[in-house]
């Protein structure tokens, strides 16, 4: 009934290749977070700008990012843009898809964080002669990022896990893609995917722990 013999040695022999994949996964996740945070800050300023077209762009972005499957967003980056003649590499497609998703979720988080910062903070900054942009940048933004730090960490974990969707657009250099290719080569399905899962788990644990250390160092108030 159960004649699958575990061969961990064979899987372990592939560990270096998988770790190379993990590095690509981290590259995608980190890039998508950095760009995603910057975009979310821009989208947040769009929302606050009071200019209707800008806040509509921000709103549409957030709605689509949060209410459609991440897989759809990645498909749109690859096949959607492809049908307009813009053919992106799998790496760029997955990067754009996840970045889009990150920016949408983070913009929504930022909105919640802004509600926790009293208007009097901006008022105090303005009364010291700061312009609206300066007050946002020096007084509101740092507090907003602090309040959003935990949600940002969660989003980072999501970004790492979402890279596994890259295989659907032909990505084969990330952890999940490498694992899939190795599986096709060796048929050590269970061992390889179990190993990949462990690597994913360890990475996300390191990320959450690291984030906690950074928070303790950064936010001493």
């Amino acid at each position: 009934m159960f004649n699958y013999t575990f061969q961990w040695k064979q899987a372990m022999a592939r560990l270096p290749q998988m770790l190379d994949g993990a590095i690509v996964t981290m590259q995608v996740a980190i890039l998508s977070m950095v760009i995603g945070i910057l975009l979310a800050i821009v989208l947040t300023m769009f929302r606050l700008s009071g200019i209707r077209i800008l806040s509509a762009v921000a709103k549409a972005w957030v709605e689509i990012a949060r209410n459609t499957p991440a897989l759809f967003q990645i498909y749109m980056a690859h096949f959607g843009l492809g049908s307009f003649g813009l053919h992106l590499s799998p790496f760029l497609s997955i990067l754009i898809g996840i970045t889009f998703n990150n920016a949408g979720y983070l913009t929504e988080n930022f909105r919640g964080a802004l509600k926790a910062i009293p208007d009097t903070q901006t008022r105090a900054a303005r009364s010291l002669g700061m312009g609206a942009a300066g007050a946002f940048r020096h007084v509101v933004l740092p507090q907003m990022l602090r309040i959003s730090f935990l949600p940002m960490t969660n989003q980072m974990v999501w970004a790492i896990l979402m890279t596994s969707l890259g295989v659907t657009v032909g990505m084969n250099t990330d952890l999940y893609g490498v694992t899939q290719d190795l599986n096709a080569l060796t048929f050590r399905t269970f061992e390889l995917f179990a190993l990949a899962a462990v690597i994913f788990y360890v990475i996300t644990k390191i990320v959450t722990l690291g984030a906690r250390l950074i928070a303790a160092r950064l936010f001493r108030y």
Binding site: P118, T120, Q121, R123, A124, A125, R126, S127, L128, G129, M130, G131, G134, H138, V139, P142, Q143, R146, F219, R220, Y221
Partner: protein, 241 residues
């Protein structure tokens, strides 16, 4: 000189300032007293342009605050304001709270800004709290920090909006002492306050506001000793109880 001419201001249907006239000269200390809702705080926020006005005008050294062509950010460097709620920037240390505006608004170098900040903070008795975050300070200390923060911009005028009202009673004294010190140093100030003994001590003139109108203004001895307006009398006898 601050010149307030026939200033009217409404919030929706509610007319909060019904034609205020007041001139404050350099070096003068004017306190505004009056019942709550009489428009005292609103007038202060109009003076530094945080609130628009409906008619009349306010001039600061001849510059019209609410004129379209006026650069409010620049004008506000001249006019410091401290609010009832102290509004410390929680993510910055006491020192950084005070150096932020000099550095970002005046473009001062860090060392220069810190030198000024240390001097101002020492002045208000917070010289030993430079590296502390505001969350660890008492209300009175935070309010003194807010005063130092405003002073670090070397303003020519200071507005104080009920700066002791949100403080525990035992902390009021230390903030009032700071204000007295400023007054003695010749700072031009307009203060809204509920501390009558303090107003009597520190003011050159005291203005009494009633329902959006400046019912009476005069030297403290006259306002407190011989009030002319029936509403002033009523108000003062109510505060004595």
């Amino acid at each position: 000189m601050i010149e307030i001419e026939h200033v009217r201001k409404s919030f929706g249907q509610l007319e909060v300032l019904k034609g205020i006239d007041l001139t404050v000269s350099k070096g003068e200390v004017v306190t505004i007293i009056g019942g709550s809702g009489s428009g005292k705080s609103t007038l202060l926020t109009c003076i530094n342009g945080l609130e628009p006005i409906d008619s009349g005008r306010i001039l600061i050294d001849g510059t019209e605050v609410h004129a379209k062509s006026t650069d409010l950010n620049k004008l506000r460097r001249k006019v410091g304001i401290v609010f009832q709620q102290w509004n410390a920037f929680p993510h910055l240390t006491v020192l950084e709270n005070v150096t932020l505006a000099p550095r970002k608004v005046l473009g001062m170098a860090r060392a220069e800004a810190e030198e000024i900040a240390v001097r101002q903070l020492t002045h208000v008795g917070l010289g030993d709290k430079l590296k502390t975050y505001p969350g660890r300070l008492s209300g009175g200390q935070q309010q003194r920090m807010a005063i130092a923060r405003a002073l670090a911009m070397s303003p020519e005028y200071m507005l104080f909006d009920e700066v002791t009202s949100a403080l525990d009673p035992q902390l009021v004294g230390e903030v009032l002492d700071t204000l007295k010190m400023l007054a003695q140093e010749g700072m031009t100030m307009i203060l809204v306050t509920h501390e009558m003994a303090f107003a009597r001590d520190v003011s050159d003139r005291v203005a009494f506001f009633h329902q959006g109108v400046m019912a009476e203004i005069g030297p403290p001895q006259q306002i407190f000793g011989d009030p002319q307006h029936p509403e002033t009398r009523k108000f003062l006898s109510s505060t004595r109880q």
